[in-house]
């Protein structure tokens, strides 16, 4: 039993990653848009789990808050607005979907072919750390939020401010786009 739990703990990233893939496949395969949104939610929660497994705790929690709390609810509202009054139950997939799936599968096969040795070959003796002196000093695992905030508010302050302007523009734009004509 202990061995089992230890194995799960070591492979946490793989478990969450495979579940995220399952959620994504459910998302693009579901017939109704509501089921699609639920698959999206499942994928997002599992990607948050992947973030946690990669020791990005702050981002994992932020992912759950932003996606499960905000974006999925927004999607559900629009699905209710748009899909419920749908009269015609048409074809779900595009005409060219067969070629599209073939093209994407070809791309996946090419990628896996290129990375075959790196993925399925013998594992490298030590994990790759590009700048070990930084990893030692920063200690990302213990002070994740502090490290992220230093990056966000000290090193990348300008992109952060630009993002706030983008959010303001998106807010105004969304209101202008979605408002009714007669107001």
């Amino acid at each position: 039993m202990e061995h089992f739990i230890e194995t799960i703990g070591r492979n946490m990233f793989a478990i969450f990653g495979v579940l995220a893939l399952v959620g994504a496949l459910l998302m693009i395969g579901a017939r109704s848009a509501i089921h699609s949104v639920l698959g999206f939610l499942f994928a997002m929660l599992n990607i948050a789990g992947c973030f946690l497994a990669l020791e990005a705790e702050f981002l994992g929690v932020a992912q759950i808050l932003v996606y499960a709390g905000g974006i999925v609810v927004l999607f559900l509202f629009v699905v209710m607005l748009v899909e419920m009054s749908k009269k015609h139950e048409g074809e779900v997939f595009q005409l060219q979907s067969r070629y599209a799936v073939l093209a994407v599968a070809g791309g996946v096969a090419l990628f896996l072919g290129v990375f075959r040795k790196a993925i399925f070959g013998a594992p490298s003796p030590e994990a790759l750390v590009l700048r070990p002196e930084l990893a030692k000093g920063l200690d990302v695992a213990h002070q994740n939020a502090q490290a992220v905030s230093r990056g966000l508010f000290a090193d990348y302050l300008l992109p952060f401010e630009i993002l706030s302007v983008i959010l303001l523009v998106a807010l105004v734009g969304a209101v202008v786009l979605a408002k009714t004509e007669r107001v």
Partner: protein
């Protein structure tokens, strides 16, 4: 420590599923969700490289990407609602105003 290759493979597969969804679905809402999925795959790469390079810059940028994705989804959904008001459909095949 999670190996970098595992993260790259998972993220690549998520991105491919997103591309496949954009290409094969007719519903504009689901296409938007697939775009979100692709942004998340990019985020996963950012975080993996941040983890393996030992600096938190990648995580800061992933947070910026998350905010950008929120802005994008707000504008995209507003567009879908406006489109539905005007054309009474969200199927992208029925929207061919620019077709000659």
């Amino acid at each position: 420590m999670v190996s970098l290759n595992a993260v790259l493979v998972i993220s690549f597969l998520l991105f491919s599923i997103g591309i496949a969804g954009v290409l094969i679905r007719r519903n504009a809402l689901i296409i938007l969700m697939c775009v979100e999925l692709m942004l998340n795959a990019a985020n996963l790469n950012f975080i993996a490289f941040a983890r393996h390079s030992g600096s938190a810059s990648g995580q800061a940028f992933a947070l910026l990407v998350m905010g950008f994705a929120a802005a994008e989804v707000a504008v995209g959904l507003a567009l879908v609602v406006a489109l539905y008001r005007r054309r009474d459909t969200v199927q992208v095949d029925d929207i061919n105003l620019l077709k000659g």
